[in-house]
Symmetry: C2
Subunit: 352 residues, 2 copies
């Protein structure tokens, strides 16, 4: 068989090719679909006052999590937060969870119990009820699929596609902690070291294993109409700003010196990463919110940051599409922002 | 390690043990949850006029489907119908679909396209929009998770738990066709025979690969308030009548001579199954509706059967719980109905 006649595989078309395929085949949409494929979650009108938010997330043993260095409890917690974070990015309130799980029959009941306890904690904290699911045996590791349902008034819903030229770009919390925590966990599992963690290592591991969904912030941004557009940082800043800019048909200038990097992450990167900025750009699964606001709302965002006791940092400005996606470096030079997060067919998932 | 100190596994507690574990850990429910874990789908109040129906279904290569004798198109079609059928069993109208899929990167794009075409057909036929999902690579075969969302007026929703003593038990269509079709497909794949199918084989294979969701029937039963309780036959009659009786706290007498078995399935069982009744009881994935009605509605059900041109057969009667689940045989003897469908940790899924 000549190369030309070989069938195209998913490896050759990549994740965006796959999503384009899906979109091409599924264009018949109800008029009640406010937002279908292409955002953190689907937005579906149920009345003039209310829209349903629905999102589904996969987590596969050996792809999204590794039980060599994560407990079942950690996995449950992290996946629930990933799911809740999609509702946070739309400014909504989560309400119901459905859980499909395929489990090797040899797994211990106590491990499953730990998994439930893991996802139960963030669900209880946000008054989310498990209302259904599906179970199956699995021949190859644990496979989880969470579907979360929430609601938001349709006119208040935040999407990726409404960023305006001149908007300031903000991010909550700090970036790169989760990636640093993951690297520490992976290294420790490989080396089988048992030395006591340094405090910065403990902090970073916890940031990876027990992330916090930014629900209250999303809800305030949406209710008070402070933000134009929002997305959660699941894929990494470089990937998620790209999604937001593509959906909004705009460009962006991010300011390297403004990227919020925790003291602990700085300590880590000082030893393990020649360029902490690249690390902050590429680090996924922080579940922080990335949002754009008109300049006039900057004071209100500062107030909100104080009230909610959560850091919110202005990291750049939305530019016309022709500007592209650029990172302004110290000294006034700049470079293109390239997506540094993994391709979806190597390691990571991709929402559509 | 002594046997007593060995950890309990899912194999030892089985599917119902797992579901009990889930229920135990997830009892905090919103007041808007009309039906949570324990029916074909969750029923969630969105207003006094409308309830949301949500259901999630897994399909795993090597567990729920086998690409040795099913095409990608078949798999897509069958899973979509399984999902739609959960909405039919509640008397609802399906509206939206979310699809999570994990795919080995080496799979051909054309195969994925066939999968989409497979699920697109029943979705288009019932005006269901794909509104979102999640994609990932998989290290071990195709893994699909469909979530379907629909709606129904809350007071009209059919559940498993409202069967009343004295109700007549009905089933749509015929039973066991899908199981017979599956066995033919499996045998042909094993023998690698290429002889032309007999007409009865073609019929039975199609019943397995391209089932029909009984949406219109469910909607009529619900809208016209004809039925007390309903469930779809996904697990097999013996398993599904057990679910219905347990949920309704009743017993049942089924009449062996009344079980609807197609001429084609009779031809098949004449050669391959010593007892066609057992075959009809155990055969899963027919996606027919099993429902109970007060006797006074029998005439209306006959009318509905004529209008919708779909066979609906009275196969028994609801009895008090103390009666148990019994099958009345020819000659007036009877025997207990035992669940003959697979255990969930060997081959099949189980909804919760």
């Amino acid at each position: 068989m000549t190369p030309a006649s070989q069938p195209r595989t998913l490896q050759t078309i990549g994740e965006f090719g796959l999503i384009r395929e899906l979109q091409k085949h599924c264009q018949t949409l109800h008029s009640d679909v406010i937002q279908g494929i292409g955002d953190d979650a689907a937005l579906l009108r149920t009345s003039h006052k209310e829209a349903l938010i629905a999102s589904t997330d996969l987590a596969i043993e050996g792809v999204h999590f590794d039980l060599a260095f994560e407990s079942f409890k950690d996995v449950g917690h992290r996946l629930a937060v990933a799911n809740i974070s999609d509702i946070a990015a739309m400014g909504g309130t989560p309400k119901y969870l459905l859980l499909a799980l395929a489990i090797p029959p040899s797994y211990a009941v106590s491990d499953l119990r730990a998994l439930y306890q893991g996802f139960k904690k963030p669900c209880q904290a946000h008054d989310i009820s498990l209302v259904g699911g599906d179970t199956s045996s699995s021949k190859s590791g644990l496979f989880l699929c969470f579907t979360i349902l929430g609601h938001v008034p349709p006119k208040q819903a935040l999407t990726r596609q409404s960023a305006k030229v001149g908007d300031k770009v903000y991010v909550t919390g700090t970036l790169g902690d989760s990636k640093a925590g993951l690297q520490i966990l992976q290294r420790q599992a490989k080396q089988q070291t048992s030395h006591a963690d340094q405090p910065y290592e403990r902090f970073l591991k916890k940031r990876h294993l027990r992330p916090t969904p930014r629900l209250a912030i999303g809800q305030h941004l949406s209710k008070d109409r402070l933000a134009h557009a929002a997305i959660d940082v699941s894929d990494g800043l470089s990937g998620d700003i790209l999604h937001l800019c593509q959906a909004s048909q705009v460009g962006v200038e991010l300011w390297a010196s403004h990227l919020p990097i925790s003291r602990q992450c700085q300590t880590y990167t000082a030893n393990h990463c020649p360029n902490p900025i690249d690390f902050a750009l590429a680090g996924g699964e922080d579940y922080e919110l990335l949002f754009t606001i008109p300049s006039r709302n900057q004071g209100k965002v500062s107030d909100l940051s104080r009230v909610l006791k959560t850091k919110m940092t202005c990291i750049g400005e939305i530019k016309p599409k022709s500007f592209g996606l650029r990172l302004k470096l110290k000294g006034g030079t700049s470079r293109n922002i390239s997506r540094q997060s993994y391709d979806h067919f190597s390691k990571k998932r991709s929402k559509f």
